[in-house]
Amino acid sequence: MALYSEKVMDHFLNPRNVGVIEDADGVGEVGNPVCGDIMKIYLKIKDNRIEDVKFETFGCGSAIASSSMATELIKGKTIDEVMEVTNKAVVEALDGLPAHKLHCSVLAEEAIRAALKDYFDKNGIPYDPEEFREHDAEEDVPPEVLEAAEAEKAAAAASCGTKFK
């Protein structure tokens, strides 16, 4: 079986909504270059609805695919609906991600929330900070997936030269 599903490869090779919105109403950036991934989401919001969304991503195939899918999932939705979009929804829409790539979907969720928070802050809209805390990849992930991720990590650590054979 290939590492990635056809959906992931499609969104990686033909990413939707790539780019910048110069007069964005909210911008969110998460990740850092040392870890090897950064996602930036630009939102245009009108009447409480995502009128337009663009992304820029520095990262691996699943990071780019997760960003692309996440933008598709939130486009045209109301803010309340967007708040319901979790990393799980991104993973499901991509027909799954390998266990050690789940953090890419978490980054996508966090980037969207960071952009919304930016919009709220700029417009003085009150919100519950609890909704915007950063969380790690292990939350919201079913235990069996976590277990698989741990096993994969252990296998990666145990086999010599997983980077270069």
Partner: protein, 398 residues
């Protein structure tokens, strides 16, 4: 779509010579070399001829060659053996380098837990350690120096003969992991003062699952695999005759063509390096001259390696990266970190390893594709945008 396999440092396609050599030992002479009847003895003869052939490629003697299941096993056995010999004399210090293959590094980790003291020498930014640095690290209790012949990621060739001379002078065993060098570079264990050397067949157009350890006569090996009396009692398990014969044929063939292939590959490699050098804010990893003829390894700022690999695969080009995302760990390549590349740059690495069958057109196609992919990924990278806008500092110059 044309397929360009540019990952020959990972593994190679078997040569016709190697495939033809192994078939008779699967179809006809399938006997166990330890059996006394003819079909077994035929296999035994082939096994011993293979040993002599492998030995001849390194100016060694047949009885100094031990067949193993892979290069990793050979590395394990060489290091464990030297450690056991050393600790009997109270010598429990081993010197190696920070950018060895994990076959060496993880074996050293194991010995460290047993109480050995391990010195990992820093590697210069050009990917080379010097004999002087090895000499300076040797102590009265040093039992082994193990330094790879050529690095598997960046292809840099170490001054093996000089390091060997230093070890010989100080009476310390010297092992080299020659997995990336065997069949590609001239190796002479006597001239280069090598006590132990590891090779792996699938890196020189032979089969996977077979390797060899050269150990100078007089060095008593410790078993990694216990069992029967095979390999003079030093490696249990019925010999993998077909693959051993195939490895010997592949090595003989590769060694007969070293100069011819190296000349062709070096020309193509330098064309590739010159083409990729034109991409702004990218840099070659490892020394330009002292590197295996088939390796080019670059870091490009602002992008991540796995996405480069996948996009190149979509264009029919297969290659490797040292990014964390291709390794299943959180850190990028320890080799790139060892030569001083910062994490954010090491994530954007690309290794291309060619062979002598490449054409100039192949090389030009790779250059054009990599240039296009780097630009495409940079155009969607917020990290690249920050570099361009001066929000983050560049590591490389334009």
């Amino acid at each position: 779509m044309k397929i360009i396999y540019a990952d020959n440092a990972a593994t190679t396609k078997m040569s016709r010579v190697a495939i033809d050599a192994m078939l008779p030992y699967m179809e006809e002479y399938y006997g166990n070399p330890s059996s006394l009847y003819s079909v077994g003895q035929k296999a035994k003869e082939a096994l011993e001829q293979a040993r002599a052939d492998v030995a001849a490629c390194f100016n060694a003697e047949a009885r100094e060659i031990y067949f193993t299941g892979c290069g990793t096993e050979a590395d394990n056995q060489a290091i464990i053996s030297a450690a056991r010999l050393g600790e009997r004399k109270g010598k429990k210090h081993i010197i190696s380098t920070a950018f060895e293959h994990h076959a060496v590094l993880h074996t050293l980790d194991k010995l460290k837990k047993e109480g050995f003291d391990i010195t990992l020498l820093d590697v210069h930014s050009n990917g080379i350690v010097t004999a002087e640095e090895v000499a300076a690290a040797i102590r009265p209790d040093t039992c082994l120096v193990t330094v790879m012949y050529a690095n598997n990621e960046i292809g840099t060739i170490q001054p093996i003969k000089e390091i060997g001379a230093v070890c010989k002078e100080k009476g310390v065993l010297f092992h080299t992991d020659a997995v990336q060098a065997a069949g590609h570079l001239h190796i002479d264990v006597k001239d280069q003062n090598i006590d132990m050397l590891s090779i792996s067949a699938h890196k020189f157009y032979g089969p996977k699952g077979v390797g060899a350890l050269y150990a100078r006569k007089g060095i008593i090996l410790t078993n990694v695999i216990e069992g029967g009396a095979q390999e003079r009692g030093k490696r249990g398990g019925t010999e993998n005759v077909a693959e051993i014969v195939s490895m010997a044929a592949a090595l003989k063939d590769a060694c007969a063509h070293i100069d011819e292939y190296a000349e062709k590959e070096t020309k193509l490699r330098d064309r590739l390096i010159a083409g990729l050098d034109k991409i702004p804010y990218g840099e070659l990893n490892g020394d330009r001259v002292h590197r295996v003829p088939n390796n080019a390894n670059f870091c490009f700022e602002g992008i991540e390696g796995e996405s480069m690999l996948l996009m190149l695969d979509d264009k029919g080009i297969m290659c490797s990266s040292g990014s964390a995302c291709t390794s299943g760990s959180l850190d990028p390549s320890h080799v790139l970190l060892a030569i001083g590349r910062p994490h954010e740059v090491a994530h954007g690495s690309l290794r291309l390893s060619i062979n002598e069958q490449f054409t100039e057109e192949d090389i030009d196609y790779i250059i054009a594709s990599v240039t296009e992919v780097v630009q495409y990924l940079r155009d969607m990278s917020p990290f690249w945008r920050d570099l361009v806008n001066g929000k983050r500092p560049h590591v490389f110059s334009e």
